[in-house]
């Protein structure tokens, strides 16, 4: 079994009110596409992260529906417009039902 997926994020700790900031996320995951065969010719079952979402203080900022063509260790970079201090919540959903999360606080002044 592969190791438990580990999320990593790069998000500023501070921003000015109304500023558009850049967010970067990575999660370790093999993203088994379901299109490969093992050495006996059997199809290796699909197991991917199929959804990524980012919320800020509970409101949706950005999300992505993911297909097997996304690379191993899925990477997303996007932006957010922040008007108040609060918490970003990041959620990755696995084909097997597992959900991996990370959070990040930002001070807006």
């Amino acid at each position: 079994m592969a190791a438990t997926p580990k999320p990593r994020i790069k998000v500023p700790k501070e921003a000015k009110a109304g500023e558009v900031i850049s967010l970067k996320t990575l999660i370790s995951h093999e993203m088994e596409s379901g299109q490969r065969k093992d050495k006996d010719g059997n199809v290796i079952p699909r197991k991917i992260i199929n959804k990524f979402a980012c919320e800020f203080n509970g409101a949706p900022v950005f999300s992505c529906d993911i297909d097997p063509a996304i690379s191993a260790n899925p990477y997303f970079e996007f932006t957010a417009k922040v008007s108040e201090s609060g918490t970003f919540k990041f959620t990755w959903t696995d084909d097997d039902g597992s959900v991996y999360t990370d959070e990040h606080e930002i001070t807006v002044n």
Partner: protein, 135 residues
């Protein structure tokens, strides 16, 4: 030289027609216009297993001028679908980057759907090469 095998065992690949059909499902049958959306990808992939792809759509990202989603497809992979980005006014801009697999040289296509129902697309050919020479 040795050929790279970028996608493991090959299964029948999607074709241009299947990709078009996929795009039409996303747009609700509307033919996308050019403009507003810019797709950025390398001309030649450094590694077919992880090709950076960025999209950016011109938009104020306010309730009156909002990009709802961007579909990313490729016309030479086992399946055309790659990802669908969903934006909100809180996104600030309709810009996102991810990394994708390319089984061979093909077109990557991005289609933006605006809140008013209009659709725009951009496309770029990314070459997947054997490599290994130089000046």
């Amino acid at each position: 030289f040795a050929l790279m095998s970028v996608a493991g065992t090959r299964i029948a690949l999607a074709d241009v027609e299947a990709t078009d059909k996929f795009i039409m499902e996303f747009t609700g049958g509307k033919k996308p216009e050019t403009g507003k959306i810019t797709l950025t990808a390398p001309e030649i992939a450094e590694n077919g297993n992880t090709v950076p792809v960025s999209v950016e759509v011109e938009s104020a990202m306010t309730d009156g001028d909002l990009v709802e989603s961007v579909l990313l497809v490729a016309d030479g992979n086992p399946n055309p679908d790659v990802a669908t980005f969903h934006f909100t006014a809180m996104s600030g801009t309709a810009a996102a980057t991810t990394r994708m697999r390319l089984a061979k040289t093909q077109n990557v296509i991005a289609v933006a759907k605006m809140a008013d129902g209009s659709v725009f697309m951009d496309k770029k050919e990314v070459k997947v090469t054997i490599g290994g020479c130089g000046g």
